[in-house]
């Protein structure tokens, strides 16, 4: 049973990681990265590494997406500012 669980978690991780690398648009990629965080946490738990899974949950599902989205938000705001120099957001 554990083997089956490991294989499932590994497959989920591989598929999500591949998609994350292939997703071109940063916001969509951020969602996929959050997914990747979940899959990795699942994999780590199956591999009996709860401490690591806890870290991954914190970093993968909260911190990294927040960082990426804040970056994108700043970048977008700049784009708007460049297009309409007299108006923001």
């Amino acid at each position: 049973m554990t083997n089956a669980l490991t294989v499932i978690a590994l497959l989920l991780t591989a598929v999500t990681a591949t998609t994350a690398a292939l997703t071109r648009e940063p916001v969509r990629q951020a969602v996929v990265l959050a997914f990747l965080g979940l899959c990795l946490a699942l994999l780590f738990t199956v591999l009996q590494a709860p401490d690591v899974a806890l870290s991954q949950l914190g970093v993968g599902s909260a911190i990294t997406p927040l960082l990426i989205l804040l970056t994108v938000r700043r970048v977008r705001r700049q784009e708007q500012a460049d297009e309409h120099p007299d108006r923001t957001e």
């Binding site: 709860p50 401490d51 899974a53 870290s55 914190g58 911190i63 927040l66 970056t71 500012a81 923001t88």
Partner: protein, 246 residues
Amino acid sequence: MSRTARLRLFLAAAAVLAAALITAATELPGFGGHHHPYGERAVAAGLARQTANIISSVNFDQRAFDTLGEESILFGSVLGAAILLRLARDEGKRRAAAEPVLPTTRLFGATLLPVTLLVGGYLVAHGQLSPGGGFQGGVALATALHLAYVAADYRVLKRIRPLAALDVADALAAGTYAALGLIGLAQGAGYLANTLPLGTFNQMSSSGLVAVINAAVGVEVASGVVVLLAHFLDQAVEIVHNGENR
């Protein structure tokens, strides 16, 4: 190089790399093998030091120097982000605007915030006993504060976030970690030696220095992540180019 040339070059090289990795994988001991000499020694050493969570024992006692380096990376990144995301000469700050949220979300955020703080504190406090520890708990604590941003808006977060104090706390915790090592040095047992009383197995007060370092790491991670995110939030929400309208 043109884009296709680059891709071809990469794919050719990646094929070699892939072949090498596959060959290496077949020569590795099979998945789930029983040969872990260092791991077994680490378990014995951790139990001898009255630490129930062996991972914490490895992180904060046996390989505490690694973790000192890791916390310094965090500290350095917080300082680095502060320097990189500082106000440029041609930029100013504007007031953050209120942002719309559903009333249920707001209420939920207000309820979840203390719960998350509690969970974070719990994870830090039990680091030497159960899964979790300074880092995991610290991240949860930092995330808790940012519920104020995602469930309300940036102005609320700024009100409940003692940024100046956290900035100092981050540096102090980083310094404390490095300084804690000197205790062992002064006692002649070596840098970062666990010379504190070890306590009883599976109790909150067990494992000596591990618990203390764990707490310092918790403080550093929580405050460091908040400060780090504060710089990003300032950029995303408040800082504008002087040419931009406010």
